[in-house]
């Protein structure tokens, strides 16, 4: 990146401090393997943050991703039921289901104009209830080894780092694709939709399509996260619990403006890694895991408060700069001035 997007510096600074602190806090981080393991643990959340970024930056929320992850894992276990030769069709089906849930979220919030907060809250409850009904509270079936490898395995015996997990490679591929996309004209248009959808609509842009696709991306990223999480930690009816709030916290921590129009996808993913690094550090320091929600709550409020204060401060600086460069007063109409 040539230049950091406004408001993204703090997350990288905090992340750097946490990574250094981890090295001091525990022996696991004396070698690069410790950090790769952290990245592996963080990969599902970082991918969820990527999806959540697109929804938030176009002005919405996606609360359904947590229960979507659970639903995906439960469906996978039931359909696979230990049959290795079903792995690939089921993987495709899971991606398709994620896209479908995203599409439904997107269409309901754009065509029916139900606020996305409500649409995806409804989807959260619907998926949660459906999973419960389908499993009677105890998921059946089993994942296959070739399914679980994505979240667990990697290329072994890589010099210096040991295992290079598949999940980290998937994360890098998706993250790079998203970052490159955001630098294209289409990516800039996505930001403009979150900033002022009317201006995009009047410019002839397809606001509803863009918003809907953001939900589809979020749904697909939830499916990918579910595949990795299922592999990593196995089947349970709680696997996705609370992930929607972790993802939103991560995106906000990455300096992405709630309401849309501002923020970088790389910073949103860095926010997810920061959150995971922080939880790891607290764990090493012997602070109860029960505090995770509390910490998250503090972070989300503090990050938004910081963003508001930072924007105000930056405005004053930029405005006074603008004034001192555009002196004195309005230019005469015949003066041609460009940068």
């Amino acid at each position: 990146m040539k230049r950091l997007a406004p408001g993204t510096l703090p997350v990288f600074a905090v992340l750097a401090i946490l990574l250094v602190a981890l090295a001091f806090a525990g022996p696991a981080y004396e070698h690069p393997q410790g950090y790769i393991a952290l990245l592996k643990r963080a990969a599902p959340l970082m991918i969820l943050a990527l999806g959540q970024y697109f929804v938030i930056v176009t002005g919405g929320f996606d609360l359904s991703v947590g229960s979507l992850v659970t639903a995906e894992v439960v469906i996978a276990a039931r359909l696979l039921d230990g049959n290795e030769d079903r792995t690939w069709p089921v993987l495709l089906l899971l991606i398709g289901f994620g896209a479908l849930v995203g599409l439904v979220n997107g269409l309901i919030s754009t065509v029916l104009e139900v606020p996305s907060f409500i649409t995806t809250l409804g989807m959260l409850l619907i998926l949660e209830g459906a999973v419960f009904l389908w499993t009677d509270g105890a998921p059946r079936g089993a994942l296959t080894e070739s399914f679980r490898q994505w979240g667990r395995m990697g290329f072994e015996d890589v010099p210096w780092i040991g295992q290079l997990p598949y999940s980290v490679l998937i994360l890098l591929a998706l993250g790079t694709a998203a970052a490159l996309f955001m630098r294209t004209g289409m990516g800039r248009l996505v930001l403009a939709v979150g900033d002022n959808d009317t201006s995009v609509r009047l410019a002839g842009g397809r606001v509803r399509t863009i918003r809907t696709l953001a939900f589809v991306v979020s749904g697909i990223s939830a499916a990918v996260a579910a595949i990795l999480l299922g592999g990593f930690s196995g089947v349970s009816a709680q696997v996705g619990g609370g992930l929607e709030f972790e993802a939103i916290t991560a995106v906000v921590l990455g300096g992405v403006a709630l309401g849309g129009g501002r923020g970088s996808v790389v910073a949103a993913m860095a926010g997810a890694l920061t959150l995971k690094a922080l939880f790891s550090l607290l764990n090493l320091l012997g602070i109860s895991g029960a505090l995770e929600s509390t910490v998250q709550g503090v972070i989300i409020v503090a990050a938004v408060a910081y963003a508001a204060a930072d924007t105000g401060w930056r405005d004053r600086v930029l405005r006074s700069k603008a004034r001192s460069t555009a002196q004195p007063g309005p230019p005469a109409p015949d003066v041609v001035t460009t940068s």
Binding site: A332, P333, S339
Partner: protein, 516 residues
């Protein structure tokens, strides 16, 4: 406590003392002086108009009087006593009442609750609602207002009634001077009369009114003296009777008004019909017959709510026509959405620059490319740098955020955004609202240059001198219909006659009302 006591105060004073005397007021922001030692006196019972272009310093001066800004130098005297206000509240208590351009009423509260907001009568924290409404009724009656019930909820009132409540609220404290900033900005023209009545009634009892506006017809209707400011300095103060509109414009701008407008199109510059509407209509407009030819600037006049903007929005697919035929470039066009309009080559500069035109937190570059990115297939070869140069946009860099630009530069970015896709039709609604005179002149020239290059332009404006100065042909709307067409350089009176439903000029007495 209420305005009832105004007349008592007045009787006890020497008629020679001005109500307000500002002497040598200076005010800087961040080392940039915007008011350079201005003097101003308000006599009891006068309406004193303060006029000037945007950025002339009139609002800053008014805010010094109101205690919102503390002047860096100079003195403020109220009734001959030097005052130094540390807050708006202190200014209010000294008798300075202010009505701001933006409404400050709470929409879901009653008139009475708004009038006494923060000063509710009552004891031990309980508000005496009946007493409050009774006293609100007295205040309104004292202003000669009988059409507004104190128990009415503000959001249910007309805009003019809300404006009157604003004024009443300012006068609840014992006011000596009422300062109003663009009080008619939100009013339909018929409602302005209500405001005039009120102002005259107030001055009749000795209140001084400071009327800040750039709407010259109002200023001439209402004021007894006019002070002109330009670039933060006092230019002149003269009795209204000794000035003409042209004088005042020349004082405000430093050059005569008509020098701002480029030449009109010559007959041979007009090309084929770019758009043609026959019998067009929807819920807000009816029986629209309209053609605009390549090279032509057609002006669209009308009062607020006459359907001017609704017609623009129909042409641009925002609120499409539901009846009639619509042809673009001689072929029937189904312009059912803004996207269809853009693809057909129609560009729409809306009246709400910030709300509809720009993505304010995105960069200049991203805004200039907004249309090109939204609709594939329509593009010109101009680069962003070319477009910004052509538009004379002054910005630190194409990477600066649009919201940090001045209004004039923002408007140029809006135009650049459309030029990037090479439109054949340009619909511009209030293109110069709220921008400084230099940028206005540039925008007039740009619009004319576009027309010269073969674009058909529909120009909507509330400023009649601008509309008349720019248009090759004038259409006037009244109640959702086109009430008539006027040749270039028609008089403001002709336009107003059609706009208010009084028929074609010359056809005396034949009213448009008859057909509706």
């Amino acid at each position: 406590m209420t305005v009832v006591t105004l007349s008592k105060r007045r009787s006890g004073e020497d008629p020679g003392t001005p109500v307000v005397r500002l002497t040598g007021i200076r005010k800087s922001f961040q080392g940039n002086e915007v008011v350079h030692g201005v003097d101003l006196e308000l006599q009891p019972g006068e309406v004193h108009a303060l006029v000037g272009e945007n950025g002339a310093g009139k609002s800053t001066l008014m805010k010094c009087l109101a205690g919102i800004h503390a002047p860096d130098q100079g003195t403020i005297e109220i009734d001959g006593v030097v005052r130094r206000f540390r807050s708006p509240r202190e200014a209010q208590e000294a008798g300075v009442a202010i009505v701001h351009q933006e409404f400050t009423l709470l929409p879901h509260r009653t008139v009475a609750e708004n009038l006494f907001l923060g000063r509710e009568p009552g004891r031990f924290g309980r508000v005496d609602k009946a007493g409050m409404e009774r006293r609100a009724g007295e205040v309104l009656a004292d202003l000669g207002v009988t059409s507004i019930r104190p128990s009415a909820v503000v959001s249910g009132l007309s805009v003019a009634q809300q404006q009157i409540v604003e004024i009443a609220k300012a006068l609840v404290l014992d006011a000596r001077v009422l300062a109003m900033d663009e009080p008619t900005a939100a009013l339909a023209d018929a409602e302005v009369a209500l405001l005039y009545d009120l102002v005259r009634r107030l001055t009749g009892r000795g209140l001084a009114v400071l009327y800040v506006s750039h709407r010259l017809p109002e200023v001439f209707d209402l004021s007894s003296r006019i002070t002109v400011m330009k670039d933060g300095a006092h230019v002149a103060t003269e009795p209204t009777g000794e000035l003409t509109t042209d004088n005042v414009v020349r004082l405000m701008v430093g050059r005569p008004l008509n020098a701002l407008f480029p030449d009109l199109a010559a007959a041979e510059e007009l090309g084929k019909e770019r758009i043609a509407v026959a019998g067009g209509g929807n819920a807000r407009i009816h029986d629209i017959d309209l053609t605009i030819r390549a090279g032509e600037v057609v002006g669209l006049a009308g009062l607020q709510g006459s359907g001017r903007s609704a017609l623009a929005r129909a042409l641009c697919g925002v609120a499409p026509f539901t009846r009639g035929s619509y042809q673009v470039e001689g072929r029937p066009a189904r312009i059912r959405s803004p996207r269809r309009a853009v693809r057909a080559g129609i560009a729409f500069v809306t009246e709400d620059r910030k709300g509809e035109g720009l993505a304010l937190r995105q960069t200049v570059q991203d805004n200039v490319l907004l249309v090109r990115r939204s609709v594939s297939g329509r593009r010109t070869r101009s680069t962003v740098a070319d477009l910004l140069r052509e538009m004379t946009v002054v910005a630190a860099s194409p990477a600066s955020e649009v919201r940090l630009l001045s209004g004039g530069n923002q408007q140029k970015v809006v135009l650049a955004k459309w030029l990037a896709v090479g439109p054949t039709v340009l619909v511009v609604d209030e293109p110069t609202r709220g921008i400084d005179i230099g940028a206005k002149a540039t925008i007039y020239q740009l619009i004319r240059d576009l027309a010269r290059s073969g674009v058909a332009v529909l120009l909507i404006s509330s400023e009649l001198p601008e509309l008349i100065g720019m248009s090759d042909r004038l259409l006037v709307m009244h109640r959702g219909r086109i009430a008539g067409e006027l040749p270039p350089q028609s008089s403001e009176e002709d336009v107003m006659r059609l706009a208010t439903g009084h028929g074609q000029p010359g056809e005396n007495g034949q009213s448009e009302e008859a057909e509706s």
